[in-house]
């Protein structure tokens, strides 16, 4: 059985690099993209088994991309975990857990995240 392919989309290259090291260490094959538009292109090129998606990104944010994926019959099935630095601590933001649920993401983890939590979240999706 070939390795599961996980795509990580985040505008912080350090984070993308580190997360991919963690996931690769767990035996996943990892794809990288650095904003919503690139993420979209990467998904078209190769359908991931799971998507780790940052919320706040330039060009197209994670909510937008997630909403589009869930609206499209072809990509609906890809499980998504949303990552965001803006958690419940912020009262009046447009980025919230509720919003994350509204775009039908499978999971939602607030940053800062530790390696174990991230790996668990990805494992749950697959």
């Amino acid at each position: 059985m070939s390795a599961k392919y996980v795509l990580i989309v985040d505008d912080d290259p350090d984070l993308v690099e580190t997360v991919s090291m963690i996931l690769e260490n767990k035996g996943y094959e990892v794809g990288k993209a650095y904003d919503g538009i690139e993420g979209e292109a990467a998904i078209k090129q190769r359908r991931p088994d799971a998507l780790v998606l940052d919320v706040m990104m330039p060009r197209k944010n994670g909510y937008q991309l997630c909403k589009e994926l869930k609206a499209d019959q072809a990509t609906r099935g890809i499980p998504v975990v949303l990552l965001t630095a803006v958690g419940e601590a912020v009262p009046t933001t447009t980025y919230s857990h509720a919003e994350g649920m509204a775009v039908e993401a499978e999971d939602f983890i607030p940053k800062p995240v530790d390696a174990a939590t991230l790996v668990q979240a990805v494992e749950r999706l697959l």
Binding site: D14, T18, I22, N25, A85, A89, K111, P112
Partner: protein, 489 residues
């Protein structure tokens, strides 16, 4: 009671003077007499006289001259001419000169008294009329002054003012209003509301006020109006006439743009801090984990130790960010408190369970002494967890190995007390007033290696006070501290 009227009788014949006096005194009048016009005028200069009875022909000064002089000096004093039969034509002349009436000699009693009575009535009537006229003039003056003053007040106001009539036409607005709306040039007055402020919800409000106010309900409607970047709070109320029907409306517009902008800026800032700081920290934290997990090559014992310490520092910084955001939220009153009946015993049990491992690590024994019948308090569960996690962790942190931390619950009728006591290092008396301040950290060499943000107790105090409770501390240096949280039931 009316003042006694004074009648001046002027005649050169003493018998007439005496006769008149005899006739008039029983009628309740005060009577004074003069023998000629000159004397009469002198007398009028000395004392107030209501009515003058004046003989037509007298040696020193006759009635015509008296009429002329008294008419000029005392226009309000009616003068009645006493005349003989043969001189009616002269009497008519006197009437032309301003005499009020005449009586012919020899006069009948009732003629004389009637004439005097009528003259007095006339005088009274004239006085009343004059008083009314004066009052009216004064009222008009006051009204004009009031109006002018009101207009000046309205025009000087820093808030916009808009007044409509009951047909929803604008009848008055002040310069601040035209400035807020960016209106220029002359506008019709009264003019259609749309020409001044074309905002559907506002038009509806004015319409409602004009319509519903007729039921006699006084109300004041508030709404926010956004004009480009200007945010206004509009307070509208109906104006009632004396018949309690609505005459129109008054709306005051307060510019709240600055508050809106500040609020937005604050939210953006909180948002920015939260994202811009947490994101890189997440990367740093994960990078450390990757290295510690050996994914980037072998790690020596010394490297591992340093990285672990760095990890702890990062965790501390993340807590600082979270707590700063938290306290900002509590202070701004943004924190939503769900006040529901809460079993504190349950919460304390969970907190104790959560911190058991930490206590064991630091070789501190944790006791829980909460009676099962501790009454519930109205509180927000998450906030209470935060309060007690903070206090109990502090107690553990500041207790040396072998110490004890006790969590006790007590009921005091109207409120419940939770007591967290430790056998730790204690707090210097002069530091006690400051420990609930933001970013204050105790300067005790023994506490140096304890990681903290200096915000924990400020958050505890903020939360407890938001629940209308209180938090107090008692401490003895080297023996331990007791924090008491009092919460109303």
């Amino acid at each position: 009671m009316e003042e006694q009227a004074t009648i001046l009788v002027v005649d050169d014949e003493k018998v007439i003077r005496d006769g008149c006096t005899l006739l008039l005194q029983p009628e309740g009048y005060r009577v004074v007499t003069a023998a000629n016009g000159r004397e009469a005028l002198d007398l009028m200069g000395e004392q107030p006289v209501n009515v003058v009875l004046c003989d037509l022909k007298m040696p020193v000064m006759g009635a015509l001259e008296v009429l002329k002089e008294a008419g000029a000096l005392y226009p309000e004093v009616p003068i009645i001419i006493i005349t003989g039969h043969g001189t009616v034509a002269d009497a008519v002349e006197c009437m032309k000169q301003g005499a009020y009436d005449f009586v012919t000699k020899p006069f009948r009693v009732d003629h004389l008294t009637l004439a005097v009575k009528r003259a007095l009535e006339k005088q009274l009537l004239e006085r009343r009329t004059r008083r009314l006229q004066e009052e009216q003039a004064k009222n008009l003056y006051t009204l004009a002054m009031e109006q002018s003053r009101l207009l000046t007040i309205v025009n000087c106001m820093a808030d916009g003012v808009l007044v409509t009539n009951r047909n929803r036409e604008v009848v008055l607005c002040n310069p601040t209003f035209t400035q807020l709306m960016g209106l220029s040039g002359p506008l019709p007055r009264p003019g259609p509301l749309e020409a001044y402020l074309d905002e559907e919800p506002f038009r509806k409000t004015i319409e409602d006020l004009c319509a519903t106010a007729e039921t006699g309900l006084a109300k004041c409607l508030s709404q926010e109006i956004c004009r480009g970047r200007v945010h206004l709070r509009a307070m509208s109320a109906p104006v009632f006439g004396p018949d309690e029907k609505v005459l129109g409306t008054v709306t005051v517009f307060h510019d709240i743009t600055v508050f809106k902008e500040l609020d937005a800026m604050k939210n953006d800032f909180v948002h920015m801090v939260s994202h811009e700081l947490r994101s890189p920290m997440t990367a740093i934290k994960l990078q450390h984990e990757v290295i510690l997990d050996g994914l980037a090559g072998e790690v020596t014992q010394k490297q591992r130790e340093l990285l672990s310490r760095a990890q702890a520092k990062i965790q501390g910084l993340l807590e600082l960010i979270n707590e700063s955001l938290d306290i900002a939220k509590i202070e701004a009153g943004h924190r939503q408190l769900e006040l529901l009946p809460l079993n504190l015993g349950e919460v304390l049990q969970e907190v104790a369970h959560l911190l058991e491992a930490k206590a064991a690590d630091q070789k501190v024994v944790l006791h829980l002494a909460v009676p099962p019948d501790l009454p519930p308090v109205r509180a927000d569960r998450r906030s209470m967890e935060e309060v007690f996690v903070n206090l109990v962790s502090n107690a553990i942190n500041y207790s040396p190995g072998g110490g004890e931390v006790t969590i006790a619950g007590l009921s005091h009728g109207d409120y419940v007390e939770v007591r967290i006591s430790d056998t730790g290092i204690g707090i210097e008396p002069e530091e006690i007033p400051k420990i609930f301040d933001k970013f204050y950290r105790v300067k005790n060499p023994k506490a140096r290696q304890i990681i903290g943000t200096g915000l924990g107790l400020a958050i505890v105090k903020g939360i407890v006070e938001a629940h209308r409770g209180a938090v107090e501390v008692e401490s003895r240096l080297g023996e331990g501290s007791t924090f008491r949280v009092l919460l109303p039931r």
